[in-house]
Structure formats: C-alpha cells, structure tokens
Amino acid sequence: MFSRRKDRQFTLLVEAWSADLFRYAVWLCRDRSLAEELVQETFLRAWKGIDSLKDPAATRSWLITILRRELFRVHGKAKLAISDVDTADLIDPDFHQGVGLTMELRKALDSLPDDYKEPLLLQILGGFSCEEIADMTDSSKGAVMTRLFRARDKMRKFLEASSSEEFMENQT
C-alpha cells in the first residue's frame, strides 16, 4: 500500500523538522503535550499531501503552515482556559537549564502579544525572511516588519532593564 520511497521521504521529513516544529508549537500553545500532538497531526497531514510537495525548499514553510492551521483549529478554547494559570514555568521542563537570564527572557518572550511573538519565532527558529513570514501568516510584508520591530524593541528594552549578572558577562 505504501511505497518505500514515500516512507523514506516521510521519515527524513520527520527527522529533519520535528524538533523545530515542536519548539514553534510549544511557544504558541505553551503546552508540551499539546505541542507534541500538534506536531504529530501536522505530519499526518503532511503524509497525505507529500506527493503534492514539489519544491523541497518550501518544505519548512509548508509544514509550518499546516501546523498553524491545526493550532488555530484547536487552540481557541485552550487559550481561554490557560490564561488563568501562570504558564511561564510550564514552557519547558528543562527551564532550570536556562539559568537566570534565559528563563527571564523566556518569560519576556512569552508575555509578548501573539501577533508579535509569532513573527519573531518564525524569524529566530525558522530563519524565515519577512516575505516568507508574511506569506505564512497571511499578512503584508510591511505589517510583519512593524511587528518584528516592536517585538525586538520590547526584548531589547527588557534586556537593558535586566541587571542580571549573566547578561553583563555576555555583553563583555
């Protein structure tokens, strides 16, 4: 029923992109088990559509687009319910490894409005250009640039205000 070649292509896809997709999902839904489900579902859909994927260079943005669609399909309710809980500590069970500043930065990142956070994640995690981000998020390049500017400006101000010793070390 399944061709060997499709299996191999799919395995490569999962191995290459599951970690990045997971990170992206966990930042947006703030929930590791839900993020894992989302990545699983994304690959399920990717499997079905894999034959239509012509341009290997577009694989990543294609996967992200599928994941976003799944996220918004199930996220609405979860978002409302989660907002009462202090989620900052739940992002990552390894957060203690991100000692001091990394943890503070994660909280700061997490506190950005989704409109700002998402393009920033796509840029840092995925290395996407403003044009690609605009495509993926159904917005204009100009709007993406404005959001990135504000998101990064907020993060910069946060860092400047932080008197953490680790930051001082990193600056020298």
Partner: protein
C-alpha cells in the same frame, strides 16, 4: 542608506544580507557597534527560544504514525481535547506545588511527571529495547540489573542535566514507570500526585529512584520489588 535606515533594518532583521546595510556597517563605526550589540542580544534570544524537545520526538511520531494513520482521521479532536484537559489539570497542580516549594530540588516531582507525560507512548510501547546502550549506561552509572519482574521496556534517557534509566514494568493497575536517577539527589522521600498518576521519589544509595503508576497502583510494592532487583554498585 543612512544611519536611521540601517538601525531600523538591523532591529527588524539582525541577520539581514542587504548589500547596502553591509556597506553602511563597513563605513560607520557607531552603527557597526550597534550591530555587534544587536547580535549579542540575538544569541541570547536564540538560546531562550530553543526550548528542550522531548526525547525520541521523531521516533515517537514515526511509530505512532505508522501504527495509526490508517484509522485515525476522526480521532484527532478527541485526542487533542483530552491532551488539553490533561495538561490543564497538570498545570493547575504544578502551579500549586510550585507555590509551596520554590527550590530547585523540590521541583523534581514536576520534572519526573513531565518526563512521564513527555514519553507517554512508552507506557504502551511494544518496541524493542536497546540492550547495548542500556548496558553501557548502567555500567557508567554504576548500576546493575540482572532481572526485573514484568519488565516491558527499559532504556537510557536524558533527564535534566544527567541521565536516567527509564523502565516500564507491568503493575496491578497498569504500566508503572520506574526512573533510576543517579544524578538527582533527594534528602527525603517525596510523593507525586496528579489526576492520573501517583508515585514516589525516594533516595537511593546513589541518586534517587522514582516510581509512578496509575492512581490505584500499590506503588510501595513496586518500589520494594525494584529495590530488590537493582544493585547500586
């Protein structure tokens, strides 16, 4: 490109390959300094964004995919709502726990539970063990296991900063997770509880031992069994 344009562009996209921007940086010392500062920040941001990924994420996805993808087109909604519900309850429980504790070692039950949730498929896994890497880890962590009753899975896992030996044994109420954590020292016995699981973490001759099972599981019994069967060398 003037200084203002350069700074706006670099703020938006520090890794820009814009030719005019590169040229401006070469000619303008103060903008180059601004660029260097921005890149230092970028490194910190990258580190913050790169949260840990569950162990075996890729292989779990592939295993589940090939096991289920023929019959699960409609199952997603149910699965995802369950996942949301489970994690919300966990979130609430952990939130409370965190308020009471605060110190790093008191957070260990949380990491243990999260590890069990991260690797939930192991509870029902029928995939083969990896005896070679398991034996290697056991040797390096000065542990010895000759025979474990009702063992369903055993493997080596990354856990926080160190390693753990992750086992699943069949208990009376369902599969029971056993984690041998040579690098996690606890002073006294701790209990773990969330809406689904119950368990303990207790000191071992070196490091500690966690046993987590379904709510009705007689955890002490499994713990006793494991203490008989594992040798801390």
């Amino acid at each position: 490109m003037n200084c203002l344009e350069f700074r706006r562009l670099v703020t938006i996209d520090p890794r820009t390959r814009d030719k005019e921007a590169l040229e401006h940086r070469r000619q303008c010392a103060s903008c180059d300094a601004m660029y260097q500062r921005t890149m230092a920040t970028e490194t910190l941001l990258e580190r913050a964004v790169n949260v840990g990924v569950p162990n075996n994420l890729g292989s779990n996805i592939l295993a589940r995919h090939y096991a289920e993808h023929t019959s699960r087109t409609r199952a997603w909604k149910r699965i995802s709502l369950n996942a949301i519900a489970a994690s919300l309850i966990l979130a609430a429980g952990v939130g409370l726990g965190m308020k009471f504790s605060g110190s790093a070692s008191n957070a260990l039950p949380y990491y243990v539970l999260q590890h069990v949730y991260d690797e939930l498929p192991l509870l029902t896994s029928t995939r083969p063990m990896d005896p070679a890497s398991l034996q290697k880890t056991l040797r390096e962590e000065h542990l010895k296991i000759s025979h474990i009753e009702n063992l369903k899975y055993a493997g080596a896992c990354a856990f926080r900063n160190g390693r753990s030996v992750h086992m699943v044994v069949q208990g009376e109420a369902g599969p029971v997770t056993v984690l041998l954590m040579p690098e996690e020292t606890v002073k006294k016995r701790m209990t773990i509880s969330d809406p689904r699981f119950t368990g303990i973490i207790s000191p071992a001759p070196h490091g500690s031992l966690a046993v987590i099972g379904e709510k009705q599981e007689p955890i002490e019994k499994v713990e006793h069994q494991i203490r008989q069967e594992v040798q801390w060398l």
